[in-house]
């Protein structure tokens, strides 16, 4: 059902290293996963190579997740973003536009959503 030849690229942004590494490992069967520890690192990566989807935590040192989401939607509107947080969805993350995952993350549901997000644009073209 997938095309292993053309694996989609997912950028995972989380400041907690074990969590970030675990997410990367749990997604790597289906996606090429890049891990970054903060918003600044993520933005740098985006300037080079554009991933197909970004998954980010909200509470991080530096710019933080909410600001990363804002800049992504401004500078790379074609890249879908998924937000995950231990807190409730903040008002700055509009419901219906940015999917939101409450921690603890349901990895199966996240995988299913990522699949849909990266396949859908292809169908559209």
């Amino acid at each position: 059902m997938h095309h292993p030849r053309s694996k989609r690229r997912v950028l995972v942004v989380d400041d907690e290293e074990p969590t970030r590494n675990a997410l990367c490992e749990l997604l790597e069967d289906e996606f090429v996963v890049l891990g970054r520890a903060d918003a600044e690192g993520a933005l740098q990566t985006l300037d080079g190579e554009t991933p197909d989807v970004v998954v980010t935590d909200l509470t991080m040192p530096g710019l933080g997740g909410a600001e990363l989401v804002r800049r992504l939607r401004e500078q790379h509107p074609q890249v879908p973003v998924v937000v995950m947080s231990a807190r409730a969805r903040p008002a700055t993350i509009p419901a219906g536009e940015v999917p939101f995952f409450a921690k603890p993350i349901d990895v199966t549901a996240l995988r299913r959503l990522l699949r849909r997000l990266v396949v859908a644009p292809e169908i559209a073209t």
Partner: protein, 474 residues
């Protein structure tokens, strides 16, 4: 010149006019004289003159009426007038009786003009004094009525207690609010209602009560010592306060629950992900100790973090009651330093102590205060990343009676306006954000205060504790 109104009653008009002439010649008086020649005319004139009449000169032998009855009629109609009887020998006895019955004096005929004048002057003087007294009485009455009206009309409770504590005044507001009329309350014991002032329940006749804040004033007039109580209804104020407190408490619980949820979800998320990684590695046949052990360690650490969180949360949210005992402040601090010192000094940290509160006793729960000092010292050490100087000082009580423990570090300082004492506020990777919240709570439970000063390179926390009263030292 003083003015005077005189009525002369005599059936002999010539004589009456003669008397008028004599009276009008009184020194220092401007006398207005009216004449009546019979009882009926006298009554009519009296009715007309009313209270303006000063003196009536009455000949008792009148054709149409008994003189005594006439005197009574004059007194009734002209309440402020005095009566002087003019009489002959034949009616002397009646004249004496008339004086006994309220006439001012009598003058025997024949009389010397001067004798009559002197009697009238004396009568006028008495009338003057009585009029003055009456004016004062009326004035006093008006003033008292005004004061009473204020007491009655004011929308506050006004109550007075006599020397036996019985109710001597019960104003309209009290009647209206309690539903108990003054007739029922006057003379009843009232000490219970107002106590020694302050907030008391005021029972209502229909059941229930209002909360009234009383202020007492004791008037120690030796003749009639009395206590005035002025009360304001504070029921609504109190209800509002309670409602506000409840709302604040609920908001606080909400904030606490949200903070707790966040703190639980992070380790839970981490542990769940690690377990899934573990399963994946086992499924893939990568179940070597090297592949599994680090993951297991992370899961264990996350579970420990959860456990720590639960313990901290309980000691924050459900503190056990303090069990205090008088303790020497320096001894307490020294014990903590001995316990914690080796741990802190293994890193590149220097520990300095300046204990200067010799002989200062505090009433504290030593176990909980130890927790305060350990939390503050560990925080300081962590803030300095275990490199720098930690100074612990004690000071004996200041003028306000508060002894002080200071814990100072040379770390980077605390960001301005950081809510360091709020639950779940933390800048540390593995912190629960409850350490300083617990410290704050324990210090306040001891009747103390905690504050800090911070700038890059120097942060100092001040724990102030009330010095123990000397009586608790035995």
């Amino acid at each position: 010149m003083k003015s005077a109104r005189v009525l002369v009653v005599d059936d002999n008009r010539d004589l009456a006019e003669n008397i008028c002439d004599i009276v009008s010649a009184i020194d220092n008086y401007e006398v207005e004289c009216a004449i009546a020649t019979d009882g009926e005319e006298a009554r009519q004139l009296c009715a007309k003159l009313h209270v303006t009449l000063d003196v009536a000169l009455v000949d008792l032998r009148l054709p149409d009426s008994d003189g005594i009855a006439l005197i009574r009629a004059i007194r009734e109609r002209c309440s402020s007038a005095e009566t002087v009887i003019i009489t002959g020998d034949a009616t002397l006895e009646s004249a004496v009786a008339a004086v006994g019955g309220g006439a001012f004096a009598f003058v025997l005929k024949p009389f010397q003009p001067r004798e009559l004048q002197q009697t009238v002057v004396r009568a006028l003087a008495k009338v003057g004094i009585l009029r003055e007294r009456e004016a004062l009485r009326v004035e006093l009455e008006v003033s008292e009525r005004r004061h009473r009206e204020v007491v009655e009309a004011v929308p506050a409770f006004v109550l007075a207690l006599d020397v036996d504590g019985r109710i001597a005044l019960w104003n309209r507001h009290l009647e209206a609010v309690t539903g108990r009329p003054r007739s029922e309350m006057l003379g009843k014991p009232g000490r219970e209602l107002v106590g020694e002032g302050g907030d008391r329940r005021l029972p209502l006749s229909r059941g229930g009560h209002r909360l009234v804040r009383w202020q007492l004033t004791h008037l120690s007039d030796p003749a009639a010592p009395i206590t005035y109580a002025l009360g304001m209804d504070v029921t609504e104020e109190r209800t509002m306060l309670r409602r506000t407190l409840r709302a604040e408490r609920l908001a606080a619980v909400g904030t606490l629950a949200a903070g707790m949820a966040h703190e639980v979800r992070n380790p839970l998320n981490s542990a769940t992900l690690q377990l899934q990684v573990l399963r994946r590695r086992i499924e893939k046949g990568q179940a070597t100790p090297d592949a599994l052990m680090p993951v297991v360690s992370i899961v264990l650490e996350e579970i420990r973090r959860l456990e720590r969180l639960v313990n901290d949360f309980l000691s924050f949210a459900r503190p056990t009651p303090l069990s205090t005992a008088p303790t020497q402040l320096d001894d307490l601090v020294r014990a903590v330093l001995e316990q914690l010192g080796p741990e802190l000094q293994t890193h590149g940290l220097s520990l300095e102590r300046q204990l200067a509160a010799l002989g200062t006793w505090v009433d504290v729960d030593a176990e909980r205060l130890r927790q305060v000092l350990i939390n503050l010292m560990r925080n300081a050490a962590e803030a300095m990343h275990d490199t720098g100087r930690l100074t612990v000082r004690t000071r004996s009580a200041d003028a306000a009676g508060f002894a002080c423990i200071e814990i100072e570090d040379t770390g980077p300082g605390i960001a301005e306006d950081a809510p360091v004492f709020d639950a779940f506020f933390t800048t540390k990777e593995s912190g629960t954000g409850l350490g300083l919240a617990i410290v704050h709570r324990i210090v306040e439970e001891h009747g103390g205060t905690i504050s800090y000063e911070s700038q890059p390179g120097r942060t100092c926390f001040f724990v102030r504790l009330p010095e123990a009263a000397p009586t608790s030292l035995d």
